[in-house]
Subunit: 215 residues, 2 copies
């Protein structure tokens, strides 16, 4: 029997949360190995973890005998090997829109406000730097979603774009971004957080969530 | 008859180059509309362009009646609608590795050294900032490629990963990154630059390439 997939994850990492949502949506049973990005100077820098993922980042997923880094590559692999329920629409044009929104978040917003970049800009600049990255991305995203959204990012089916959206909104809240200019984003996020897969995978409910952040 | 795809592109944008390579590899005839990211304070900020791509970034591709932003979303759409020659292997595990390498570059390196971020870090910090982003990503990439590469990034077939690699190496050279610690990256890059699709799409050979940079 094939062994369970193993997810290397940090409770607060928005990219780890993307993968946890997808695993939950698809009903895939898995084990979590927490990698604490802060403790011991960052457990992602250990020799052992670097062998698994030379990028020294979470998430990484051990599955079917390989280890995949990069959350969107993981989502695409899950979609190809465990297609039900689907995270990409059938229509190629809608798939393109879903991927465009996913990439907008995964390449255009998140990398600019992740932990390693914020370390580089210095303590006092972290909040304005992260806020700028997120508002600039959300300004574009809000416009796009106004023409693509139904109940969720693209129509009424949960897709890869939604899997990226909710964790990015959580980051926005952490960095105290004013969400009032983004009614479409906020509305979709609310609908997503009502879904069980988004709840069980939530940063406040992980094995490595500190007691004071649990809800 | 369907109209030709229109690519909004800037000669030096590495993300635009990715799409130009894919269009060339797949033999897709297209028109280029140059968007100068410097001139007039940045033509990507014009009302007209923002309507096309609210992210105010190149590339954007008008094709089959839709406009797609984000280079990897464009590559995936081209792959799904014009599958020959393929940019993703048939085997799902190899596809995952190709996408992981592509995302490592597209989310893990390029966004940290793009024009808008470099503007933010200030003139005197630009070179060291860009060099750090690229060397940190290339350190990981070199390790990964040592176990995946044949003639190209993943085996002996040109893939999406290669489409991302050559433009990133060009950026590394522009930012004077020492490439000697990266023999596998350098070797693959050399093989790629020998291919016609990489040559015709090269930044030094675009309609908007300034005369002094043409070769």
């Amino acid at each position: 029997m094939a062994s369970k997939p193993v997810l290397y994850s940090y409770f607060r990492s928005s990219c780890s949360w993307r993968v946890r949502i997808a695993l939950a949506l698809k009903g895939i049973d898995y084990e979590i190995v927490p990698i604490n990005l802060i403790k011991d100077g960052g457990q992602q820098f250990s020799e052992e973890f670097q062998t698994l993922n030379p990028m020294k980042q979470v998430p990484a997923l051990k599955i079917d005998g390989i280890t995949i880094g990069q959350s969107l590559a993981i989502l695409e692999y899950l979609e190809e090997t465990r297609p039900i329920p689907r995270l990409l629409p059938q229509d190629p044009q809608k798939r393109a829109i879903v991927r465009m929104i996913s990439d907008l978040i995964a390449s255009g917003i998140q990398p600019l406000q992740n932990l390693s970049v914020l370390k580089q800009v210095g303590q006092e600049n972290q909040m304005p730097w992260a806020q700028k990255a997120i508002t600039s991305g959300f300004n574009a995203l809000e416009k796009i979603l106004q023409s693509t959204a139904g109940k969720y990012c693209v129509g009424d089916e949960v897709s890869m774009a939604d899997v990226c959206l909710a964790p990015q909104v959580a980051n926005a809240e952490r960095f105290k971004v004013d969400l009032s200019p983004y009614p479409t984003i906020s509305h979709i996020n609310k609908a997503l957080l009502a879904l069980e897969a988004f709840q069980v995978s939530h940063p406040c409910r992980q094995p490595d969530t500190p007691a004071e952040l649990r809800t």
